[in-house]
Point group: C2
Chain length 318, copies 2
């Protein structure tokens, strides 16, 4: 199958394009977590990114890649999570309209986040068919460009810019771990890492309860995800052929983590690093705690994908 | 009254002395909080400091200022909070013994923190008399040097190093705000700010429910604090004559904040900045939210004192 993927040059171009609109996030370390996992960890804190997640990078690159003519008709996506907020943010930064299709059962907080960023929300029934119909409908009515959360070369290029900064900031990295849902972040990370530093190991991490990426990685085709009952709500997505291709070509392994380990890793990060991270961001550390990935003694970059959490519903409260 | 206070030179010496043992913490900004308060805020993140609080600075300076002979007999303090952990940390760094007197009702978590850092805990009844007796007792038995949490020039010098870094990292600061409990942090901050940058305004912030510093600041003598019913447990202390002297000489004003504003500011910081801060650290922002201090339109450094919170008991849960 032929799919379009960004090359390193596209990711470098994305970096220059999005620089005025996104943060260069800090890299934090934590001696006590290092001791727990037996490796030197370098956390790339995308929880501090605009809209609280790395998604701001990909959406901004997509929006600022549009021609003036395309941009004038606005952008469109479906997302109940961070990508919707990211596209709204990027559209506002460029001064264009954005429509976000969300399921009716999306929380009020998430709807309010997107609305506050100036996007128009279109609610639909919580099914794939209803979502696709709503997107098609808005697209026909407005001419807006659809920006998919991960199945889009410009989005993948944008997500890869986090790894560019991480590699730039941390000398002699030996491995990088990113969480994997739809695979946009891991694809961009992998392309950067493998192009820039031969021998740098790229690893993915996902919940055992949503292990489609690990299965797809082994089988070579996009495996379905019948029911994703994981707390890591950002990772309840299957890969696309595009992201699977990038991942198969560049990633060494995908580790999985139990729900218990994800909650433990999330809490441990809050307590020891004093940063707020969302469950999806705890999955790489969780997979290290369960030794699903082996990086002992290595210098390891960990991409902390985001920090959007409902503080009224924390997972360590019954 | 004559009290010994550190001069700028002492604080510069402290910086060199403690550098191998403490973090140079990052300064974070948050556009959305800036909009809420109408100022440019620069948060000096001592929640990322060793042991999760600025207290590591003062304790480390005191411990590494001891002669070899003094050090050989160990150090001693009373604290149910961050200073106890800080002294334990500093003593371990120097390879000497530490004793921490704690009230019997101190939480198991806090006791465990201090014990894990290698200090010996001496429990006492939760009264000032019992505490002083226990300290005197340990001191007599061991010859350990007492390191007071704030009524100590070396401790104050250490706490001042956070402001040194903040002023170094942020050009053209116009004001600095620090929380005030016993006044060690505010004293050190004030001495640095006023010595280094003439005209830089230094402000304190404390809970309205523990407003002894504001009252002492006005009256010129250490006012008692009959009952401190504030969530900001790090600030339930009165000033010492030493810290009051430094504060009266160098601080422009002390603002107070309601409990409601403290909780709101704490939650807002977690949600928008994605950092874990303890209630005491939210008091400066809370006092800005309630306009108890006027810094509108200014560039303002805010010292985030610490991030040690019990995640099972968050204040926005009933």
């Amino acid at each position: 199958m032929q799919v379009e993927l960004p090359a390193l040059a596209d990711i470098l171009a994305a970096q220059a394009r999005i620089r005025p609109h996104v943060h260069r996030t800090p890299v934090l370390t934590c001696r006590s977590l290092d001791e727990v996992v037996g490796a030197r960890l370098f956390f790339k804190c995308e929880n501090f990114q605009k809209i609280g997640a790395f998604k701001a990078r990909g959406a901004t690159n997509a929006v600022f890649s549009l021609t003036a003519e395309q941009a004038a008709r606005g952008v469109l996506t479906h997302s109940s999570g961070n990508h919707g907020a990211a596209l709204a943010y990027a559209a506002r930064a460029r001064g264009i309209a954005a429509w976000v299709v969300m399921p009716e059962n999306a929380s009020k907080v998430k709807q309010e986040n997107v609305r506050r960023l100036g996007a128009t929300i279109r609610l639909c029934a919580p099914t794939v068919a209803a979502r696709e119909e709503a997107c098609a409908d808005v697209g026909r009515a407005t001419g807006a460009t659809l920006v998919h959360p991960f199945d889009d070369a410009r989005v993948i290029a944008g997500q890869g810019t986090a790894a560019l900064e991480l590699i730039d900031d941390v000398p002699e990295l030996e491995a990088i771990i990113a969480p994997v849902g739809g695979g946009g972040l891991l694809s961009g990370t992998a392309i950067v890492a493998r192009s820039l530093v031969p021998g740098l190991r790229v690893l993915g991490a996902e919940p055992a309860n949503a292990d489609d990426a690990a299965r797809s990685f082994r089988s070579g085709r996009v495996e379905p995800l019948p029911a994703a009952t994981t707390i890591a709500d950002g990772l309840r997505t299957t890969l696309a052929a595009r992201t699977l291709t990038a991942i198969r070509a560049n990633v060494e392994a995908i580790g999985t983590a139990s729900e218990q380990a994800i909650v433990a890793a999330m809490r441990m990060t809050w307590e020891r690093m004093k940063i707020v991270i969302e469950p999806s961001s705890a999955v790489p550390l969780a997979s290290l705690l369960e030794q699903a990935l082996d990086v002992r003694g290595k210098r390891v970059g960990v991409i902390v994908s985001g920090g959007n959490v409902d503080l009224d519903h924390l997972p360590w409260r019954a």
